[in-house]
């Protein structure tokens, strides 16, 4: 059995679809209208989609519930939403719109029991944990606040804590984000060895062969791509694409 999940990962800021590079807020590219993007990924039969609002937590805002509701009602793909979720009430509200999964990140470091609380109420399959990682002196540290705050928590300790509860772990490499120079393979192998919940990796995927390479190494893996699915060509013109047939053909599944 081989399960390879190929997932567009979309970043929103102030309701716009944007693309970051190295998490640098001064280096944002406006991509377009988020609802329009979701419609295009629908038409391209995207198998799942991840949406992260990077403006919610840093600006101390609640998730934009009305936008999330609109996205959910037009999506024919399973959605995982993250950004600004701090309470069970937020999470339940978002799931009630038909969003499959909510993702928490910074809230984990503000409230020790939040993951356990969420999972016991809404089930582990609906709760993903997303973390942004940066390597310092050979250890991977978890950063929050769009890469600005070092939580000083080391990855391997963190994994032990969350894998009893979470339904999925999404790891992003800050050093590779938006670079399109290829993913951090050391980070991926490091985590995959220890994990007993589904892993989704993102950050740096720049060509189809990067996806193929990672998918061939691991039986059960999710690959999430931002830049690769919103840019096209050598000049990185904005063009939403999702070459799933080519990927499946190369993977032969």
């Amino acid at each position: 059995m081989e399960i390879k999940r190929i997932i567009p990962i979309l970043t929103i800021l102030n309701d716009d679809l944007v693309k970051t590079k190295f998490f640098n807020q001064n280096n944002l590219t406006y991509i377009g209208d988020i609802l329009n993007a979701v419609r295009i990924f629908n038409d391209k039969n995207a198998e799942e989609i991840i949406i992260n609002d990077i403006g919610a937590t840093v600006n101390n805002k609640k998730p934009n519930f009305s936008l999330i509701k609109k996205i959910s009602s037009i999506s024919r793909m399973p959605i995982s939403y993250g950004g600004g979720i701090k309470s069970l009430e937020d999470a339940k509200k978002i799931l009630s719109y038909g969003i499959e999964k909510i993702s928490i990140s910074s809230a984990l470091f503000e409230n020790d029991n939040i993951l356990e609380e969420f999972v016991s109420e809404i089930g582990s399959q609906s709760v993903a944990v997303t973390i942004d990682l940066k390597m310092i002196n050979d250890d991977y540290f978890i950063f929050t606040n769009n890469g600005k705050t070092n939580t000083k928590v080391i990855l391997n300790e963190f994994i032990k804590k969350i894998s009893k509860f979470a339904g999925e772990l999404v790891i992003n490499s800050i050093d590779n984000d938006g670079s399109m120079n290829g993913p951090d393979e050391r980070m991926i192998s490091n985590i995959h060895r220890e994990l007993q919940i589904p892993l989704v990796v993102t950050g740096g995927f720049g060509k189809i062969d990067d996806i193929i390479n990672i998918c061939k190494k691991y039986d059960i893996i999710g690959v999430a791509c931002g830049s690769l699915f919103v840019y096209k060509g050598n000049n990185n013109a904005v063009l939403i694409n999702y070459p799933i047939n080519e990927i499946r053909r190369k993977l032969d599944i």
Partner: protein
């Protein structure tokens, strides 16, 4: 007409949107009194745990009306994901009694290295099934679950899938259907399956 039971779990909107797309009117059923003679099909969606689904159905007084509904053989019921699992008698996930419409027990995957089982996976039919009409053999559907349906009677198993072990992905007992995957999130194949359900004719 098709009714979609809206009890706080599952993607009722996505299901309704797809049914509208294929030209079927579907009504969201918030109250058991809405299950009247004009409703001849019910969809029971679900996300979350077995006990929370049963608890919500109980609180909203849906349990007896659903059981009454399927006693009429011209009526049809489709359970999705946890909505399928609660068709069983009980679950390892919780303590509550299920709807007991298709004998069996919900069990946790034992040998799975990674749980939950999430993503697109193949569905293989074990016999001719109206729900899968015009859908290519071994088509993939979207799954998200850690528990599976251990069906008592082999003739109730209509299709199976594989995740570290083979498990039942479609159960059918006469006019009662259950799918472990999410047709409302499975693009063309899922849409076709819902269309097939909408077209099933009791007479």
């Amino acid at each position: 007409m098709i009714g979609i039971i809206s009890y706080g779990l599952g993607n009722t909107m996505a299901i309704r949107n797809i049914l509208n797309d294929i030209g079927d009117n579907a009504e969201l059923i918030n109250d058991p009194n809405q299950i009247d003679t004009k409703i001849d099909k019910l969809i029971l969606p679900g996300v979350g745990s077995f006990d929370s689904a049963m608890q919500l159905l109980k609180e909203k007084n849906f349990i007896e009306p659903i059981k009454m509904f399927v006693k009429n053989k011209n009526n049809f019921l489709l359970g999705i994901c946890v909505g399928m699992q609660i068709l069983a008698n009980s679950s390892e996930e919780g303590k509550k009694e299920g709807l007991s419409l298709i004998p069996g027990k919900i069990k946790k995957f034992k040998n799975a290295k990674i749980l939950p089982h999430v993503g697109w996976n193949k569905v293989t039919k074990l016999r001719e099934v109206e729900l899968l009409r015009d859908i290519k053999e071994n088509s993939k559907f979207y799954f998200l679950h850690s528990y599976y349906y251990e069906v008592e009677a082999k003739n109730h198993i209509a299709a199976s899938s594989s995740y570290f072990t083979d498990f039942t992905s479609i159960v059918i007992n006469k006019n009662i259907f259950g799918v472990q995957f999410h047709p409302e999130k499975s693009h063309q194949s899922g849409k076709m399956l819902l269309k097939n359900f909408a077209r099933i004719n009791g007479n």
